[in-house]
């Protein structure tokens, strides 16, 4: 009798485990969902609410250069370099920080995937990818082509 009870418990545990796995991934075999694609494959990895990500500005680089976030997350840049830097949205100058002295920070809440650069050192670039929607990093020009 004890053995049967034990086997039953193991069976229940296995069922529960299988169910919870299915809920978490939300994406079993493609057959189950026909041709629908899961747009946010990383969603199950996120915590319940928005989180804060950090980008270090060090040795003339944004670290990490590409940051994956979820819509509504906060990104904080810290200037850990010895020179001034700033953070400016690349394509349309949608947002920008003031020049950041060493140790200074800038933060923004991100809703769209965006590339950004340092307007003081125009070759320094980075991008934030929201919900896996990748974009090109060199899609904008940070120099006005005004010649002489």
């Amino acid at each position: 009798m004890r053995v049967i009870a034990l086997l039953f418990l193991v069976y229940v545990a296995c069922c529960l485990s299988a169910c919870s796995k299915r809920d978490n991934t939300g994406n079993m075999d493609g057959d189950d969902y026909g041709e629908y694609e899961i747009e946010q494959p990383d969603r199950f990895e996120a915590s319940d609410g928005p989180v804060t990500h950090r980008i270090d500005i060090l040795q003339m680089k944004f670290v990490p250069e590409v940051l994956n976030v979820q819509e509504g997350d906060t990104v904080v840049w810290t200037n850990s370099d010895i020179v001034l830097h700033d953070v400016v949205e690349l394509n349309k100058n949608l947002w920008n920080s003031e020049p950041l002295k060493p140790g200074a920070t800038f933060k923004t809440v991100v809703k769209l995937s965006q590339a950004y650069y340092c307007s003081l050192h125009v070759v320094m670039r980075g991008k934030i990818v929201v919900d896996g929607r990748d974009i090109a990093m060199n899609s904008g020009s940070s120099i006005t082509m005004c010649g002489n």
């Binding site: 040795q59 003339m60 680089k61 010895i82 020179v83 001034l84 307007s119 003081l120 050192h121 125009v122 070759v123 320094m124 120099i143 006005t144 082509m145 005004c146 010649g147 002489n148």
Partner: protein, 198 residues
Amino acid sequence: MLAFVTKQAVFNQTDILKTKTVMKTIKRFASVLCLCICSLSVVSGQQNPKLTDAEVASVAVVANQIDIAYAEVAKERSKNADVLKFAETMISDHKAVLDQAGALVKKLGVTPQDNEVSKKLLADAEKTKKDLRAKSEKDFNKAYIDNEVAYHKAVIAAVEGLLIPEAENAELKALLQNVVPALRTHLGHAEMLQKTFK
């Protein structure tokens, strides 16, 4: 292996033909770079000049001061917003490096010592500033940015090939190593601007 080399050579040949103008420019800068490196060797009288840490510090300080001086000339002469912004960055960044260098030599109790390399750099810079000031308003931006590209290439070569190997104090060596990414970024920035003055 031979086939690969030949393929490379053919590719390079085609590439050179396609980008004749670009290559001309690169050749000109390369000769300027060689002149700068050679002058560093010639003035010292040997292939690997022996510099004390005080002399290394002096060369580093002078190299930063020279680029600030070039930027000051640009602020006087240029009306191009991108060039002016670049010049402001050069002033701000090289001043930050000078502050770091100043704090370090104070901490180490070292007084930067003039030497043949730093004197030659200063003399060359005086001539370059004179040449830049003599440019017409139309030609100034290109001349300034061309010089910035050549100068940063020469300084990177000197820091990596001379100053870092010569520096004995670990903190002085580390400071010089930390400056290289900034110099490379300045070079990339100048090369990006250079493309707008073709």
